[in-house]
């Protein structure tokens, strides 16, 4: 037993920095998706089960864009940056579009009727099921690798661990988006109305906040980050109709881990989960890696259901 752990800790020691870098990159993707869960939870008090399909639609939209823009050519440095931006924006917009439709079709009619919570969950599951099977029908069932706007070479090394271009791009794009979202929610009028609805929808509506519009905008913002995450994920792993399922389950874990309804919590939870998962490679057979995230979810829900930072609905960020 002691031998087992000492040898595995030795592996962990050897590969510490490499695993850390990979874990942080994954963690940023989880964080971007987790934001969507946490924001919708904030205003509606329910889990958007179809968020995985927002992620997937971002992946597919940017996949076709990349195919059209790049084809078989090799972009130069300027084109690389433009294409990358275009991918993030188109992926994000596709995510926003699907999120808006989702809110209109699967949530709003139920909201009008004050339906019980179970009804929302079921209609969201239906929407998710519909969307990913629809994607399978229209775009096939094989994993498609995305044309990349950059060459994924090693840029520099940390303590011997190579840091690749894709990791840097994921980190930079995510940090920019997360910081802008944080500022947007903290300082703008829209952000104030989102916080107001999260705190107390009834009073907010009395104070002149348009609840419907605020909820749609929440879906749009969360959907943008989710769709962009789909693009970043697709660059490394390709796109396929089921691509949303596992990352979304993990992002949900991240949102709960950080404290659901809490934007900064989602980021911390995402990074933490990415790193924990990456390190667990040293201890667990690769086939069971998804079990680790699930175990984290169950443990958090059992022992600290409010997460690390606690549920903070409607406070600044």
């Amino acid at each position: 037993m002691i031998n087992y752990f000492s040898s595995h800790f030795a592996t962990l020691g050897h590969e510490f920095w490499g695993l850390l870098v990979g874990g942080v990159a994954n963690g940023f993707i989880y964080a971007l998706v987790a934001i969507g869960y946490t924001m919708v939870y904030g205003v509606l008090r329910l889990i958007n089960f179809a968020h995985s399909e927002i992620f997937m639609s971002g992946g597919f939209a940017s996949f076709f864009l990349m195919k059209w823009l790049i084809g078989s050519s090799t972009p130069n440095a300027f084109e690389s940056v433009i294409y990358l931006l275009a991918g993030v924006i188109v992926g994000g917009l596709a995510g926003s579009a699907i999120a808006t439709v989702l809110e209109r079709v699967a949530y709003r009619p139920l909201r009008r009727r004050n339906a019980p919570k179970l009804a929302y969950l079921i209609s969201a599951i239906g929407a998710s099921y519909f969307l990913f099977n629809f994607a399978a029908k229209e775009f096939g069932r094989i994993n498609l690798s995305m044309a990349s706007p950059f060459v994924n070479h090693t840029v520099f090394t940390i303590m011997g661990a190579p840091v690749q271009m894709s990791y840097i791009i994921i980190a930079v794009v995510s940090v920019i988006m997360l910081v802008s979202l944080d500022r947007l929610v903290a300082t703008t009028k829209l952000g104030r109305s989102i916080r107001a609805v999260a705190q107390d929808p009834e009073t907010a509506s009395l104070m002149g906040v348009n609840i419907d519009r605020t909820i749609v905008m929440t879906f749009v913002l969360g959907g943008f980050l989710g769709g962009a995450a789909g693009y970043l994920y697709g660059l490394s792993f390709g796109v396929v109709y089921t691509m949303g399922f596992t990352p979304a389950l993990k992002a949900f874990t991240a949102a709960v881990l950080g404290g659901i309804g809490n934007l900064r919590g989602a980021v911390i939870g995402g990074l933490l989960l990415g790193i924990v998962e990456s390190f667990s490679v040293a201890f667990v057979n690769g086939a069971y890696i998804d079990v680790v995230a699930f175990a984290v979810l169950v443990l958090v829900l059992l022992f600290r259901p409010t997460g690390i930072l606690g549920e903070r609905l409607g406070r600044a960020a």
Partner: protein, 444 residues
Amino acid sequence: MMKFLRSAQAKKLGSWLALVVTVTVMTGPPGNPTQPTLGFTSSFSERVSFFGLFPAPRGVLFLALALLVAGAVLAYSRVAKAPVQRARAAVVPKYQALAGKRTFRLSWYAVVLLGAVLLPHLVTDPFWQSAMVSQIAIYILLAIGLNVVVGFAGLLDLGFVAFYAIGAYVTAWVTGALPVAAPFHHHLNPFWAIPIAIVVVMIAGVLLGVPTLRLRGDYLAIVTLGFGEIVTIFMNNLYGITGGSTGSNQIPHFSIHLGSLKYLWGLNPVPYYYLTLGFVVLFLIIFSSLEHSRIGRSWVAIREDEVAAESLGVNPLKYKVMAFAIGAASAGFAGVMTAGQSFFINPATFTLSFSINILVLVIFGGMGSIIGVVIGSVVIQTLSMYLIHTPPAGFQNSDLYIYLGALLIAMMIFRPAGLWPSKRRRREFTDAGVEGTASIAGGQ
């Protein structure tokens, strides 16, 4: 112009058009990754003949159908609504008085049962005979089991397939069809697997339930979803125990050896049909008597208001775990039947899609209404099998999942209590608007 676009009529028109477009693309031919728009364009351009009627592009056909339906609805509300309502008002109380009588209900059940017994002699097509067992009767078992969890106790379980899978794998284990050694020296026949599988899945239900059933509804849904996935991951990867992704294909058929009485269930589906039918009836009797027992009433109390139920001395966790274990029992049993009938199991059968398929049967029929769930299972599964057996132009088997997903949303929007609602549920879904003003944003 702008005024018209903002009007309620324009919105209605827009949603009708969106519906027509969605249905057209949904039922149309598939696309492929090299031509992503192919599915969309050919859905509108390709001419189809709808049940042998006039050939026209699919979009035009559905538009015509939508106009027809809209016209019919309009005509109904203008002309026939009042007389129909009057007729209903006259007939319904009489029917309800009749339905309240025990003899009337029992004779109905007897007629239905007789029909079910005679069915294999009326339908002799081998496809349908096989579908009656593996796609309808077994799905009824699963649906009434899930109904205990979702319908009676109000707990959304998205990993229900896990119990079904455990039941099937336990059968393979005790009959000695798995790589891992069987528990008994003597390899048993699947009949002996029934009690063992039921005990094992009930234990699994308790083990999953005790830690997770303290959670709120939406968390529970996601944890059970994860549980279902994890069971699949283990089935796929524990080669030495479960046979990995190839599973097992040597499960013996059911057989009876009681002294001089010997019978072997073979490849013919009809004997399986009667065996499954017998157990369906048994489970229906058990579950409907549970519904009106002390336990059933406690489930309803917890579902409606957990705090109030607890203050009246109902232990929520205890009864929720009970619902989990009892629902799991019928799924585990269905697993035994599947394994014994098809003699072949592998992890690809036990996916999330399967759980959702069962959920659709429960929702469509009516959560909490046993009769509704049985009707829902029969209707949906028969339609699915009909589509698979005689596919219309452009239909692929996997399109079924798209339809089921759309059906879930449509049911929640238009008829949340289901096709044949239970009395209690109907009241709950219609009265929900009265209570609680803090739920403007759709919260608790």
